[in-house]
Symmetry: C2
Subunit: 347 residues, 2 copies
């Protein structure tokens, strides 16, 4: 008796069938017991649960997923546009990803992360969706793939995108009102006395384009010259020297073209601050500077950075909430979050 029990314990129990044999019931019953269905006798269930615990048995998720046609996994995809190296280390996206992981876990979903380079692989989104591995997908950042995403959205409901909202778009998006954010920034710069504004960053990506446009709105409304775009890459290594060049070009012995800079992200703003200091320009006295995101770094620069805050946690909650509702069959509207001006000392 003891011998046979020992032998039983030694037996590898990998499948529900193994466990069923041990418990002296059919596989179906084990499945129902483990799933907590009410149709199974309490004593049987307890016995099965005990055996499962004892042998450390876990049902195979692949098989379960195949049979039930759902996986309990949400795909999170980061499309990398032109500026490959940047995005992955981008603090903003990474922070968002962290919150997403939290939020999905809370709702019992796993997270499958995929980075794609759309240029190399036109099929990036379909491939992910069609793989059968995920119940739904969250796209982080529209990059330059707005049209592709729109197309896919027409035939696939279980998708939510982080990004910028455009009038009449068909895919469900969650994001900050970037244009309003741009307006807030420009207004603050101007209120501080700035008249010659510049926008630092890449105006290609939609979010940034909207921030730029917001600043333009204000400049136009106030009758100021239009905002000067200072184009840079986003990766810190390349951006530094690009910023230095821009500054050298616009702050010369003959004069200063710029007295207010709106940076597309806090990361760029921080770099810009360093460069301004290196070129002997005082912030905010000579130039006013304002960032975007309110990442932790904004509090640590010297002087601390005035910036436009995005509520990343709320964004993550929104993304997950909307996606789950879509999985449940609801039709959902996009969610536009309000930006908030955080006044510190650079503007």
């Amino acid at each position: 008796m003891a011998a046979s029990e020992e032998q039983e314990a030694r037996i590898q129990v990998r499948t529900i069938t193994d466990l069923a044999r041990l418990a002296g019931v059919s596989p179906g019953t084990v499945s129902r017991a483990l799933a907590g269905k009410s149709l199974v006798n309490t004593k049987t269930r307890e016995k099965i649960e005990a055996l499962a615990r004892e042998h450390g048995f876990r049902p195979n998720q692949m098989a379960s997923g195949l049979r039930r046609q759902k996986t309990g996994v949400i795909g999170v995809v980061i499309p990398l546009g032109h500026d490959i190296r940047q995005q992955i280390s981008d603090s903003f996206f990474m922070t968002l990803l962290g919150f997403l992981a939290d939020e999905l876990t809370t709702h019992g979903y796993d997270l499958m992360l995929r980075r794609v380079v759309p240029d190399d692989d036109a099929d990036w989104l379909d491939r992910f969706i069609g793989s059968g591995m995920i119940d739904g997908v969250i796209v982080i950042g529209q990059s330059d793939q707005f049209d592709r995403i729109e197309e896919v959205a027409d035939g696939y409901r279980s998708m939510v995108v982080w990004g910028n909202h455009q009038e009449g778009q068909r895919h469900c998006v969650v994001g900050t009102d970037n244009r309003l954010g741009g307006r807030l920034a420009a207004e603050r710069l101007i209120a501080g006395g700035a008249r010659k504004l510049a926008f630092l960053g890449d105006t290609g990506p939609m979010e940034f384009a909207a921030r730029f446009a917001g600043a333009q709105d204000v400049a136009a409304r106030m009758g100021l010259p239009s905002v000067l775009p200072l184009v840079t890459h986003l990766s810190p290594d390349r951006a530094s020297e690009e910023i230095a060049k821009h500054l050298a070009a616009h702050f010369t012995a003959q004069g200063r073209d710029i007295d207010g800079i709106f940076a597309a992200t806090d990361t760029l703003a921080a770099l810009c601050l360093t460069e301004l200091r290196a070129q002997g320009l005082a912030v905010p006295d000579d130039v006013k500077l304002i960032g975007f995101d309110d990442l932790p770094i904004a509090r640590q620069t010297i002087p601390p950075l005035t910036t436009v805050r995005q509520d990343i946690a709320a964004g993550a909650r929104g993304l997950v909430d909307l996606l789950l509702r879509r999985l449940g069959g609801e039709t959902t509207e996009s969610l536009v979050l309000p930006p908030e001006l955080v006044v510190r000392e650079t503007a």
Copy 2:
């Protein structure tokens, strides 16, 4: 004819069987064709591939995974110890994660991310491994789970861990030589004239304990008083005030207990720098300060931070390389990476 073709195109082709019907062959042949096996006639293959492209067909990964007993997915798990809120936004882990995503993608694997709170769920690692969803697992950070990881390693080969290496441990680990890093830091502080050293951070996690121990080694060898631990949480919000308190306690009107601070991470070092400045202490003249990691922020503080560099990209490469070799059946040794002192202006 045209009508029937149109009808064909409209038909949803979800399964390999659908495609087989369209192509007029058996499912087996389609499977082989799509897998690129040599046993299938070139013309047949081309026809099948064309049809697959046309209908946007992708084989179901769940079914494939189930049948082949491998999924093409690597699990990445971040165990969160005491300090929950911190880790997920921790720049270091996030950067590592980014590189891991790159590296795994390059090798044709997908990445399944899971955050766990071991305190709530003693079973965290077995559950992930036993789910059948992943071919192998990378654990980012040992947290306080060293023993649990050791146990699991005895029965499961497809695991590699980022963390600290200990003499005689059984699990395969990749990580920086933290103790050596600690020594480098302390030596630099002392070479600059510091005699009363402090370690800023949590000495609980193994990596940090090793850094602390390294600093101790040097202090002892030089006959200096032992290194004073200044315990803080790692999340920026809590850490700031904790640091302020520590500083207030050790830099009083009566005198200064400390003239060299070794911070467990750059993030803490940057916060510390801010607090030192707030309390009117000059770096490096009054106090020398040195960080760990060489995150981007280290270059942007004022003055820029002297720190001990970890090669994160190499770490990610090592993790993936070792894991894949283990999947292939090899037995692998742990990989200990050398830290590198980066001298800037704070020490």
